[in-house]
Symmetry: C2
Subunit: 253 residues, 2 copies
């Protein structure tokens, strides 16, 4: 690791250090390798511990480093490309679905979801909780909100929670004709429930994907899915099957 | 602001405080209002300053609060929904484009972009820098990479940089038939150049949208766009014109 470029920085020192460290990660370290400790790294680059820590935080944000308790800071594997949007539209729970771990219940949705669904204040809706596993690790947790009006033929369900309940609701929802869907992605922080499921601490940054499903000229269901921002790259493929095998944005930010 | 729920918390204290604060923001504060100072807030909720600060950081991550120097912490306006993907595919710079501030140059792309484009090590490509303004404020900065092979009919350009150069490259690119495009979204931190343009400090979290444009059975161009994660919600509308005017995921994460 050279320290040559650190003198003439116009940028904040930690930012420049980040760039130099990033290049060192490419050329000198392999995935999973443990970085030298902070004291040694700071000495090597002639920076204060606080500056070093800021640079390490940036690299963590960019998915280049992982900090794990009892292990230290390791070089992260490339982010996994997880397909979120395709041209083919389908109800949640359709055959080719990559979600599992179903759990159904009833709950009052958050205000903004209730507004989107057009339900009354305090009105309960069906909820379906699902999780998405990719390469053996949990990458996303989802909560679906489905008002009673969207599943009019649903038979009375005895069980207040559980997978059977969830499946019955999804099956009934799938009987309607899906008119379209809209998606949005934004930065969020993971709640306590999802944090446990995603193996993160509450408050860790996540990518929140909100999907509105339209049927019968109204919003028939809303899905709020939280993806791990450290390990996931969300892919939206419109090109009809062209897969991105490489990782073009790895160093591009 | 009540403090009632703070005792029986199973979750980390700052997380629970965040939830209570979030509800208070909804019910007691309006957009743009300045929050009481940290000392007062900590006293009010009976928590340590460090706990309060963690909760405020979470709320900033979720776009609920803004911290501005010399002003203090204010209640943020709802995030702006910025359309990123539509079913209609188009080359960058096509007529209905919402980008401006063109600047063209030549540069060696980052390794991963070069790999995607299939250019040789150290080979220069055309670059076009653009920025996106929404409601009078910069929301995104983009760098397009276009190899010489994608613009074979480009006349010799005298000017090494500038808008004329950028326009000539985009015009030539648009002559090819666009076969498709793929998009990915991931978390990143903003570089020094983009930070200036987006009015952020280097290292602030951004949503990095990477788009690959396919023509002639290869990747003809790569766009790397960084969106402000604090103010933007990226929307992907597949539903043929159904607009989301509300903000359903506001409180849903």
């Amino acid at each position: 690791m050279g320290t040559t470029q650190l003198e003439s920085a116009q940028e904040p020192k930690y930012w420049h250090l980040k760039t130099v460290l990033s290049e060192a990660l490419d050329s000198e370290f392999s995935v999973g390798e443990i970085l030298p400790n902070e004291r040694d790294l700071a000495a090597r680059f002639g920076v204060a511990r606080a500056t070093l820590r800021q640079a390490l935080e940036q690299l963590e944000l960019e998915g280049r480093l992982q900090r794990r308790r009892g292990v230290g800071t390791t070089v992260a594997p490339p982010r996994v490309g997880v397909s979120v949007g395709t041209t083919a539209q389908a109800w949640p729970g359709a055959a080719d679905d990559s979600w599992g771990g179903l759990d159904g219940a009833e709950a009052v949705p958050p205000t903004a979801v209730a507004r989107a669904l057009g339900t009354a204040d305090g009105e309960q809706v069906h909820t379906v909780r699902r999780s998405r596993i990719f390469a053996g690790r949990p990458v996303a947790a989802e909560l679906l909100y489905i008002p009673a009006a969207s599943v009019p033929g649903l038979p009375a369900i005895d069980t207040p929670t559980g997978a059977l309940r969830a499946r019955a609701v999804l099956r009934e929802l799938q009987r309607s004709t899906l008119q379209g869907q809209d998606r949005s992605v934004e930065l969020g922080s993971v709640g306590a429930d999802d944090a446990r499921e995603l193996d993160r601490l509450p408050g860790a940054p996540v990518l929140v994907v909100t999907t509105r499903f339209y049927a019968g000229d109204r919003t028939a269901a809303v899905s709020v899915a939280t993806y791990r921002a450290d390990t996931c790259r969300l892919t939206f493929g419109d090109s009809g099957g062209v897969e991105i095998h490489q990782d073009p944005e790895r160093h591009a930010s």
